[in-house]
């Protein structure tokens, strides 16, 4: 079986490059997992829990990843066989990746500061920055939005549904948040 690279262009566009990268990733992960599966199983259960013919916990995962690896190879071959690059819908390009990465960074930062600052404060920061990034420049709207959304969420979830959201690691911030919520609740009931 021979495969030809596309005859004119010697390098692929961004989209196809990403596909190649993905397929290689799939192949390697698949192969590694399939081979090393026994190591990935922590001794925990009682294998003797089943005395007779049993499906060892290695069986299914191993097959799955082995087949995945093989399909990864097929995938790669399929990509390399592509002659008409123009026909491939380019859903990924450098600009898109840049745009999206920044937003993804926002989300990641949000995830990591959340345990330290608590849900309320982290959300305030997130909403403010994200809204700004997405084009909202109206100052008072930004402040209002970023303040009231976490507050409302906290109130609805904690008082009505009794679902508590994480507090800050630092006790002082957590207590501060509680105070603000209480103040607003009182205000709300007075009005």
């Amino acid at each position: 079986m021979s495969f030809k690279l596309s005859s004119e262009k010697k390098f692929f566009n961004f989209y196809l490059k990403s596909e190649i990268a993905a397929s290689i990733l799939i192949i390697t992960i698949g192969a590694c997992f399939a081979l090393f599966m026994p190591h990935m199983i922590a001794k925990g259960g009682m294998v003797q829990a089943q005395d007779f013919i049993r499906l060892s916990p290695i069986f299914f995962p191993r097959i799955t990843f082995a087949v995945l690896s093989i399909l990864g190879i097929v995938y790669l071959i399929q990509i390399l066989k592509i002659k008409n690059e123009e026909q491939i819908e380019e859903t990924l390009s450098k600009e898109i990746v840049q745009n999206v990465s920044i937003i993804f960074l926002f989300v990641t930062i949000y995830t990591f500061i959340l345990p330290y600052l608590g849900y309320g404060i982290a959300s305030i920061i997130m909403i403010f920055s994200l809204s700004y990034r997405l084009g909202n420049r109206i100052w008072w709207q930004l402040v209002l939005l970023s303040f009231f959304i976490p507050l409302t969420i906290r109130i609805i979830f904690e008082r009505v549904l009794f679902i508590y959201l994480p507090r800050s690691h630092f006790e002082i911030l957590g207590a501060w948040e509680d105070k603000i919520v209480k103040i607003f609740l009182n205000l709300f009931f007075i009005i």
Partner: protein, 496 residues
């Protein structure tokens, strides 16, 4: 028996029952509409509230919560492509496309009416045939469950037509992800790499949010357009309503899905997610115009919605007749029954007949109420979607995080993030994520039931299945025949 029924109806002649059912429906709908909040969560949290009420109020309240939740999940599924509950995943196939075309409201209404119809029919069926259903459910054991799941998988795979290779890869990834965690048969933990948070497997909620919410948010920010919807329709006009003609054309689909859902409801461990997928697949197969599926086809909304609601009726049967819950939601309901002093089980019809009939009827009533309630509550949601992205996206993100945090701990956020990242990439590379999810959901049941079957078979599997378990054989054989048929067809097509 008829007189206990009539006595039960008497119990329903008070207005406060309807108030509580409605309250449950509203709260349920709200909870369902929040991606990440599950009805299970709401049920368990509000369980103590129901303790303080009398049984005839408390239990219908929870029932309303449950039903509202299943529908509620379709709202964000349709409007922004983020399923509010796992059961609405299949609704994301057609929903967002319809919304983009400006038919968001139509889709929401179709979902509402299909859900209610499926639920209603399934409930009535359950009430009338509770005895025979109880017998059937007892006959279903691991070999049957395995066979049914296998059959469903074949059906679902058959409609993934052109995605062929990528579909298979996605499915295998889903399968692999599904194996992470504890192997139920031997108790050993697999592929957790020492992370405690993975020891139960990847929790469904961070997975769903990661696979749907995050990529949707990322996709939405790719384009510079300020809104999700292509035209700003205006706050006074939320899109066209559903026409009777359109609903009528989907009636056959709804009936078919109801049948599927009811059947799956009788099988423990399969659940609403699978029912929705199977319903959708069956509708696409049976449709005269399968090409429209995926581009915004109302039938494709009716099918999964009717199916996932229809599961509810039969699921209650083992609960009521044996006192054994079929899934987590019914387990919580069992707790509610018990705390109210009712003992579901073989003796309940004798001991508390009227109350039980009242509760069963309240399920039917909840559906009828919901048609009106849901219709009214739809409007705000249909409007909300038209808000500018710069407002909407941070809100959606904040809510998505709340959803994950409410049922787990901070480490689930990281899972969500990692999953979301890869899910986005896969989507951009034109992988269809539906096979991934369904494979994930079914990974454990498939392996588990197969293990159990092998244990029961004590070595002679073929004989065990085909000789002693006819139901299971029927499904397995049908699935195999189907596969052969398809393989031969595609073979012969390649020849010509």
């Amino acid at each position: 028996m008829l007189e206990t029924f009539i006595q039960g109806m008497h119990l329903l002649l008070r207005w406060d029952i309807y108030f509580f059912i409605a309250a449950g429906l509203c709260i349920g709908m709200f909870v369902g509409a929040m991606p990440g909040l599950t009805t299970i969560l709401a049920l368990s949290v509000l369980l103590p509230v129901s303790f303080k009420l009398e049984p005839v109020l408390g239990i219908p309240f929870l029932v309303g919560l449950f039903k509202g939740g299943i529908y509620g999940g379709s709202i964000p599924a349709i409007l922004v492509g983020i399923p509010g509950t796992a059961a609405s995943i299949a609704t994301t196939f057609e929903g967002p496309a319809l919304t983009r075309k400006g038919h968001g409201r139509k889709a929401l209404e179709m979902a509402l009416f299909s859900s209610v119809s499926g639920d209603l029919i399934s409930d009535i069926f359950t009430i009338l045939l509770i005895g025979p259903i109880a017998i059937i459910t007892l006959m279903i054991g691991p070999p049957e469950i395995f066979a049914i799941i296998f059959f469903s998988l074949v059906l679902i795979a058959s409609i993934s037509g052109d995605s062929g290779l990528k579909g298979a890869i996605a499915a295998l990834i889903g399968l692999g992800l599904g194996f992470i965690g504890t192997d139920a048969a031997t108790g050993s933990t697999r592929m957790t790499f020492g992370f405690m948070s993975l020891s139960a497997g990847i929790p469904l909620i961070p997975l769903v949010i990661g696979i749907f919410a995050l990529p949707e948010i990322l996709l939405a920010v790719e384009s510079r357009a300020p809104r999700f919807v292509s035209q700003f329709i205006g706050y006074s006009n939320t899109g066209e309503k559903l026409r009777w003609k359109e609903f009528k054309s989907s009636i056959k689909t709804i009936l078919r899905s109801t049948g599927i859902g009811t059947g799956i409801g009788m099988v423990p461990g399969v659940g609403q997610v699978v029912a929705a997928f199977v319903g959708y697949s069956a509708a696409k197969r049976a449709s005269t115009h399968p090409e429209t599926f995926g581009e915004g086809e109302l039938d494709g909304i009716a099918a999964p919605e009717a199916a996932n609601n229809a599961v509810n009726g039969p699921t209650m049967v083992p609960l009521l007749t044996l006192g054994i819950p079929g899934d987590t939601a019914t387990a919580i309901l069992l707790g509610a029954f018990v705390a109210h002093g009712m003992r579901p089980g073989p003796l309940i019809f004798q001991e508390q007949g009227p109350l039980l009939y009242a509760i069963l009827m309240s399920m039917v009533i909840a559906n009828i109420l919901f048609v009106f309630l849901g219709y009214v509550l739809l409007k705000p949601f249909a409007i909300a979607i038209q808000i500018k992205k710069s407002y909407l996206i941070p809100i959606i993100l904040a809510l998505a995080f709340v959803g994950t945090l409410s049922t787990g701990d901070n480490s689930d956020l990281i899972i969500m993030l990692v999953v979301g990242f890869f899910a986005y990439i896969l989507r951009k590379l034109n992988f269809d994520l539906a096979p991934l999810i369904i494979a994930f959901v079914l990974a454990e049941p498939v392996e588990y039931t197969l293990s159990q079957t092998m244990l029961y078979a004590k070595g002679s599997i073929l004989q065990y299945i085909f000789v002693t378990r006819p139901i299971s054989s029927a499904f397995l054989l049908s699935a195999l025949i189907w596969i052969l048929y398809r393989a031969m067809r595609s073979f012969s097509r390649k020849r010509t």
